[in-house]
């Protein structure tokens, strides 16, 4: 058919290849320099965490044995052998920082994983059904948000008789969901009014299908942004808790733990604080930059 051939030409004119909304967002993200720096830092962080055993020259938990059963000297300054120096037990700080990335990232990902499940489920149900369910969930969100985040975490950790990194996952996960639930709820409430939801209803789609196939994919953008920023927040919170002795416990090489043990030597051996401190700063900044970049790139003004 002639008309059809012309129409094909027209669509070809518009775009040579198929562009999914995600593809377009990636193109926008690539143009954002700060976001790309953030992405770079986050990628390095991931690589370091995954390949920690290969990257770290020494065992992070024990001081390396030199000859004759003697161990490495403690409290060395940075050198070629120990680029970040050694701590009071003679452990290599560089190796500890490398392994610390593992803990930090795990805290970030696991807590956000818990928050994701809780937040999406509660937020989506509240937003989609409204009414009493919504009021109950909203009330719960309000209550959770009324407590300062870190104080809340401390309170929960205090309940456990023995602190540890697994409890940090749980505690931070349990209190990280409300912002996510609130965003999902708002998104669902506005997306619910969209005509394509009505279209799906008129096709006979079930509520479950509508939520999973239509509502959630369209609220993914703010969810991704919130989760990304949440990872940074969780890393910071874990460091804080560990610094207070309520989080990860020594000898596990968490950045917070390193800060805590390093603080005694802050005047004489400040490098013990510098490196874990710098690691926290760079990691949190990098992830936040990425999160902000994603927010701009995923802005759903995709119509034009």
């Amino acid at each position: 058919m002639k008309a059809q051939v012309e129409e094909e030409q027209e669509i070809k004119q518009i775009s040579e290849e198929a562009h999914s909304p995600w593809h377009e967002a990636w193109k926008r993200l690539k143009k954002n320099k700060l976001a790309m720096i953030g992405l770079g830092i986050t990628t390095v962080l991931l690589i370091v965490a995954i390949f920690a055993p290969i990257i770290a020259p020494y065992n992070p938990r024990y001081a390396p044995v030199i000859e004759d059963g003697k161990v490495e000297l403690s409290l060395q300054g940075p050198s070629w052998a120990h680029p970040f120096g050694t701590d009071k037990l003679g452990r290599d700080i560089f190796s500890r920082v490398v392994y610390g990335a593992r803990i930090s990232l795990m805290v970030g990902l696991i807590t956000q994983g818990i928050a994701l499940v809780l937040g999406i489920t509660l937020g989506a149900i509240a937003g989609y059904y409204g009414g009493l369910i919504d009021e109950a969930v909203s009330y719960l969100i309000q209550v959770f948000l009324a407590f300062p985040f870190i104080l809340f975490a401390i309170a929960i950790m205090a309940v456990f008789s023995e602190p540890g990194v697994d409890k940090v996952f749980l505690a931070l996960g349990l209190i990280s969901w409300p912002p996510l639930a609130r965003i999902v709820r708002g998104q669902v409430m506005s997306i619910k009014e969209e005509e394509y939801i009505e279209a799906a209803q008129s096709l006979g789609a079930s509520d479950f299908r509508i939520i999973v196939k239509h509502v959630i994919p369209n609220s993914l953008a703010p969810i991704i942004v919130t989760v990304t920023l949440g990872v940074a927040g969780a890393i910071l919170a874990e460091a804080g808790l560990s610094f207070l002795g309520l989080g990860t416990q020594p000898p596990r090489p968490s950045w917070g733990v390193m800060l805590k043990t390093g603080q005694e030597y802050i005047r004489s051996y400040p490098y013990m604080i510098w490196f874990p401190g710098l690691a926290i700063m760079i990691a949190v900044m990098g992830i936040n930059l990425l999160g902000d970049g994603l927010r701009d790139a995923l802005d759903p003004k995709m119509k034009d």
Binding site: Q9, E10, Q13, I14
Partner: protein, 333 residues
């Protein structure tokens, strides 16, 4: 002619986007006489609204920029003026009404405050005088009990009422030129009829010149004296209203008129224009309409025709206007 109020000459407004330069308005020229209504018709992407925004110098920059041409209003070229002088002219000598009366009014001020602001700014009236004049204006545009309405906020009014308030505000300073960009598109037909009648009356009373921008051929037929048809940033046909509807010479104009169903009822199928308006960056190289035109030849694809005067005051941008008999849809006259 001495009574020419506005003369637009070879106006070019481009948008510089990431994907390339969009020539939204590309060499548009027209005159508006005193007391005359010029209709500009076109579909989305034709450049009709950008033309209006260019006259008021309201083109968002970046990405938009007026890159060439003249806009002579009375004795001045608006494009040469300082921003300060332009602000004096805006809302005073030239005013504009927009399609969406809700978003064009500020929701936190009463309508009286909003009309008064224009009057105090441009006419130097004091607060009481301005309010009194506001009530006058509201009465003129047919708002019942204006003494009470003047203290209401925009959300308390219906769509039709809000559009009347916009018109009252636009006319408050007795402008010589009123630019109306799709003023009735968001309104129902019975309200549209009220507003169109109102614009007609006001023109008779104040001798205001009007540029009416719309996609609705019916609205144009009712109020415009002459019409410019725009497509792809260009005027493709321009003449007086009666001739345009009776003897269109451009295939696009003829196609548009034929494609709309008639209220008196029509026989058989509608006759649509084929295809869709291309992406603004991908118009054909020759005649912008070539890919949708039933009569396009090799030449039409290769080279763009000029806007040619085919009869006194009837301009057409088409290579084949002489041969085509658009009325009988035949390629020979």
């Amino acid at each position: 002619m001495s009574s020419t109020l506005l003369e637009v000459k070879d106006l070019q407004t481009y948008f510089f986007t990431d994907r390339g330069t969009v020539k939204a308005v590309d060499g548009v020229s027209f005159d508006v006489e005193k007391g005359e209504t010029l209709g500009i018709v076109g579909e989305s992407g034709s450049g009709k609204s950008v033309t209006a925004a260019s006259i008021m110098q309201l083109v968002p920059s970046p990405p938009g920029d007026i890159v060439g041409g003249e806009i002579n209003f009375k004795d001045e070229n608006l494009l040469d003026l300082k921003m300060k002088r332009i602000r004096k002219i805006r809302g005073n000598e030239i005013s504009m009404i927009f399609q969406e009366p809700m978003t064009s009014l500020n929701p936190v001020y009463t309508i009286g405050e909003q009309i008064s602001e224009v009057l105090r700014l441009h006419q130097g009236l004091n607060k009481d005088e301005a309010l009194e004049k506001s009530i006058d204006m509201l009465e003129k545009v047919g708002i019942p009990s204006p003494e009470e309405r003047v203290h209401e906020h925009p959300h308390q009014l219906s769509g039709g009422m809000r559009q009347r308030v916009m018109i009252a505000m636009a006319l408050a300073c007795n402008p010589e030129l009123l630019i109306a960009d799709e003023p009735t598109t968001a309104l129902d037909v019975t309200i549209q009829a009220q507003i169109l009648e109102l614009m007609d009356e006001l023109r008779d009373e104040f001798n205001t010149s009007i540029i009416l921008i719309t996609h609705n051929l019916g609205v144009i037929a009712e109020v415009a004296d002459k019409v410019a048809v725009m497509y792809g940033g260009r005027i493709v046909e321009q003449t007086d209203t009666v001739t345009l509807y009776k003897d269109p010479e451009h295939p696009y104009t003829a196609g548009l008129i034929k494609s709309i169903p008639k209220i008196e009822g029509s026989e058989g199928k509608l006759k649509p224009i084929k295809g869709t308006v291309p992406d603004p960056l991908n118009f054909p190289n020759g005649c912008k309409f070539a890919n949708r035109c039933n009569y396009a030849e090799e030449k039409c694809w290769a080279e763009e025709p000029d806007l040619e005067e085919v009869k006194p005051d009837h301009y057409v941008r088409c290579w084949r206007w002489k041969e085509l008999d658009l009325k009988n849809e035949s390629e020979v006259k």
